[in-house]
């Protein structure tokens, strides 16, 4: 793999990383829920998609839609039946509950699908390529990248121009006042969690089309989601997107340099950013200039 191809692949993966982070950030920003099961929903999206692809003749875009709708229902149900009972000033109970849920989902996946490493085979589309300016690009990665950009834009439009989106942002600011305006807080929360889990599951399915996964992949994906949120910031769509792209490129380029290091380079880059953020750059630069 040439460096350029690695960078392009990294951007494709990175768009999905951005979506992982966006879902986590929405849940935390709006309801202060740290969803530990976020990684498991990412993996669940992959298994669900793989199963639907295997047992039905539906094409991938329709499967994505099926997964999106099921994921929304799951997120909605999780919030409505469980997390809405736990919302409050203390974020720990919801964290523990979602941690428990993550264990349940992981083990259920093992029980149903076994421990094997899996990949999704979607047939000849997988290897379809086009050549742009002398560089061979896969059609599938391009389509996936376009879809993740479209999902970011759609979330942006929703948050800015719909009543539901404004209610999400207002709930993050001051849920009590939102209630005095006639909004049912629990319903707003359930919708927000539905959206957050949808983003996770769809991105998880799309990532699985390009890479392998097991029932235990959730923790790794959750880690990436956290890194995206920490680098990109909580309140910023663009921040999540760019942070995702950055981590994606570092991961894939790192793997192309040395296939045995796994996510090492991504974690190193993350720590480097944390250090740089702490460092007093102007002071360092002036000292050097002297």
């Amino acid at each position: 793999m040439t460096l350029l191809a690695a960078v392009l692949n990294g951007l494709m993966v990175g768009g999905l990383y951005g979506l992982f982070g966006l879902g986590l950030a929405l849940a935390f920003g709006i309801m202060r829920v740290v969803n530990i099961a976020h990684g498991e929903f990412i993996v669940l999206g992959a298994f669900l998609g793989a199963t639907v692809l295997a047992v039905t003749p539906l094409p991938l875009p329709v499967v994505v839609l099926v997964v999106a709708i099921s994921a929304f229902a799951m997120g909605w149900l999780m919030q409505a039946t469980m997390l809405n009972r736990l919302v409050g000033p203390n974020p720990i109970p919801a964290m523990i509950a979602t941690m428990g849920l993550s264990i349940i989902i992981r083990n259920a996946l093992v029980a149903v699908y076994g421990n094997n490493i899996r990949a999704i085979d979607i047939g000849p589309v997988q290897n379809l390529g086009i050549e742009v300016a002398g560089v061979a690009l896969g059609v599938l990665p391009l389509a996936i990248f376009a879809l993740s950009v479209a999902m970011f834009l759609a979330v942006g439009l929703l948050l800015r121009h719909s009543t539901t989106g404004r209610a999400f942002r207002a709930a993050a600011d001051d849920f009590e006042i939102l209630e005095t305006l006639g909004f049912n807080r629990r319903r707003v929360y359930a919708l927000a969690m539905g959206l957050a889990v949808t983003l996770a599951a769809v991105a998880g399915l799309l990532l699985a089309v390009r890479s392998s996964f097991t029932p235990f992949s959730g923790i790794e994906r959750l880690l990436i989601a956290f890194q995206v949120v920490i680098i990109g910031g909580l309140g910023s769509l663009r921040g999540s997107f760019l942070a995702g792209l950055f981590l994606g490129v570092v991961h894939v380029v790192g793997l192309s340099l040395n296939p045995n290091v796994g996510p090492l380079f991504g974690h190193l880059a993350f720590i480097l950013i944390l250090i740089l953020r702490q460092a007093d750059l102007p002071a360092i630069l002036t000292r050097r200039g002297r």
Binding site: T163, E179, T180, L181, F183
Partner: protein, 235 residues
């Protein structure tokens, strides 16, 4: 015709009792002032009426319907709106987005964006600014307008003059006449006795969670209010 009837209301913050058997009536079209010092239980009373802090004992009725156990959003949709203490706009939303949220679950009625900008023409200049970037007086206009967008029957206003310059307080209070003309009843919680008396039909005085005085605004003597306010024996 009585719009709001509060009977024997006990409200607690945890183990701490904030109001003791409070009775209160607001007639349709009436403006009622609730005055009292810090910690008298005024804000708590408003929070109980709109359902943010549920009452432990007592009943709250809106046009005869018992709303004591309803959730806040259901009470709001039945026609009670709150202008909260400290304004509490959504700081990350623009002024107009704040107003639009007010109208999203509103009852039908005369108040809409146009009417709100007509009530406070100054708001037009900063309609697209984030609400967190406004001055106190500007925020207060938006907070009142946001609550009005619900087209409430009863508007609860918690210390709208707090921290504002006197000239701006005058502007804010001037709007209450037009709000009443749109057949919205008012409950004004205030620390400023004179202003509250001037803007209302009747006053209630709260002291340490109890009603210590009530009467028509034009008739209760300042001395009596002062005594009820500070808890001195009436001279």
């Amino acid at each position: 015709m009585t719009l709001l009837t509060v009977e024997g209301l006990d409200v607690f913050h945890g183990d701490l009792q904030a109001t003791f058997g409070v009775d209160l009536q607001v007639a349709a079209g009436e403006a009622v002032a609730i005055i009292g010092a810090n910690g008298a239980g005024k804000s708590t009373l408003l929070r109980a009426i709109i359902g943010l802090t549920p009452a432990r004992h007592g009943t709250i009725r809106l046009e005869g319907e018992d709303i004591t156990r309803l959730s806040c959003d259901m009470i709001a949709r039945r026609g009670i709106a709150l202008v909260p203490e400290g304004r509490r706009l959504f700081p990350s939303l623009t002024v107009e987005e704040n107003l639009r949220l007010g109208s999203a679950r509103a009852r039908p009625g005369p108040w809409n964006l146009e009417a709100a900008y007509d009530l406070f023409p100054a708001m037009t200049d900063f309609r697209h600014r984030p609400a967190g970037m406004l001055s106190g007086g500007q925020q207060q206009m938006v907070a009142i307008a946001r609550a009005l967008m619900m087209n409430p029957r009863l508007l609860l206003c918690d210390e709208v003059s707090l921290g504002l310059a006197p000239a701006i307080i005058g502007d804010i209070y001037a709007c209450f006449r037009r709000i009443r003309d749109s057949s919205v009843s008012l409950v004004l919680v205030e620390q400023d006795i004179l202003r509250a008396r001037a803007a209302s039909d009747r006053v209630y005085c709260l002291l340490k969670g109890r009603v210590t005085l009530q009467g028509a605004s034009g008739e209760v003597a300042l001395d009596a209010i002062r005594a009820a306010y500070f808890g001195e024996a009436a001279a």
